[in-house]
Symmetry: C2
Subunit: 231 residues, 2 copies
């Protein structure tokens, strides 16, 4: 095991044992280095890895001896990893579309079962913001991705939400690839607006099966417009 891995293993063990909990502070860099008998550069390398994974955050302006705080941001960590893997082009768009369809159609059906408890204010605000006709395709589809992540979050499953957050950039990426291939973007955008409103109406009324079907058709419909072009 390399020296920075010794540090990682120690932190993981302390988390598993409950010695370290969310909001707690890690030992200072120097103390950890001395205790484990490794160099301070190895401790710093381990901290970078933990930061990138959303496990710790280092306070702004903190000195080298102030120690990092234990955070818990699974979505951020998976998101960074997936974005990098999308960049290596080893994740096919078809698989992203299939996965989001699965997660989102499940999530709205689940959420519709608790329609009365749902807080849809943020979602209504996104729908209204997307009605603005001066939005660029880029800005419109950013809001679009936010809306889909927010809808998936209504199901109340941390892991499904984290996966959707982590897919946000991948989704925005393939959608923006499609924009130049569309004959008339503003017509497409208008259809997307209507479809979003219909999904949220079904959700609000507690019509789970309908919301689920509408989400599926909405995602697959857009993908179908350009998937054949890509072969």
């Amino acid at each position: 095991m390399r020296t920075h891995e010794v540090v990682l293993q120690r932190i993981e063990q302390d988390l598993a044992d409950g010695k370290l909990t969310v909001g707690g502070r890690l030992p200072a860099e120097r103390a950890l280095a001395e205790e484990l008998g490794v160099g301070r550069s190895s401790v710093r390398e381990a901290m970078r890895v933990l930061e990138a994974m959303g496990i710790v955050r280092t306070a702004v302006g903190s000195g080298p001896d102030s120690g990092a705080i234990v955070a818990a941001n699974p979505a951020a960590s998976i998101g960074v990893a997936l974005r990098l893997h999308m960049a290596t082009r080893t994740l096919p768009i078809r698989d992203v579309v299939q996965t989001r369809t699965l997660l989102e159609s499940w999530a709205v059906e689940e959420a519709a079962g608790r329609a009365r408890e749902l807080d849809l204010h943020a979602i209504d605000a996104l729908l209204d913001a997307m009605d603005e006709h001066t939005l660029s395709p880029e800005a419109f589809h950013r809001l679009d991705a936010d809306l889909h992540v927010a809808m998936a979050g209504l199901a109340g499953n941390v892991l499904v939400e984290a996966m959707m957050v982590s897919l946000r950039d991948s989704i925005h990426g393939y959608v923006m690839q499609a924009v130049p291939l569309l004959d008339d973007w503003s017509e497409v955008a208008q259809n997307l607006r209507c479809e979003h409103r219909a999904i949220v109406t079904a959700l609000r009324r507690g019509h789970g099966a309908k919301a689920s079907t509408l989400v599926r058709e909405h995602i697959e419909g857009f993908y179908g417009r350009f998937a054949p072009v890509r072969g």
Copy 2:
């Protein structure tokens, strides 16, 4: 932006531009440091982060100037992050169970649609291995988790498979928590064996809906045995 983030951004850009591809070699540590005007320790920190995310691997025995190889292992990266987040106890077991049920029931239905093309040798071997009655609960449930990951992989979706691989440790973790709570583990294990055989038979015959229902009942049935105990 901190100096190691400058290095990360540069690598991500090179991946996105196609200048770096899977199997390719990154510039040597010294060259990268000079080119970006950062210290070599910053380059090393960035490499640790990329390694942890499965984006690069460093060859065993390579010198400091030999450069890392671009790999592509989304499952490994997400897996490490999720395992660490499970350790922080911010991922509820209920959410893990719900998510795997969703992914696995979808995957077997999808796979059953191509039953004739499926290679089930590895899965049959796992089923046979699990018949061994001298297996410890630990060893039995390791094989069990492998079997479920293998079944999910039959759907041919890289992302769904990566998510299941990344859940493997979390699944094994909650199952092993349940073992001491069971009245008669060997009876439970015998039921699990039968249920696995039934799922694989449905898969082999191309009965997608049935395989999907059996997987759901299998996962929820086991969880139901101990979920009430946990409150």
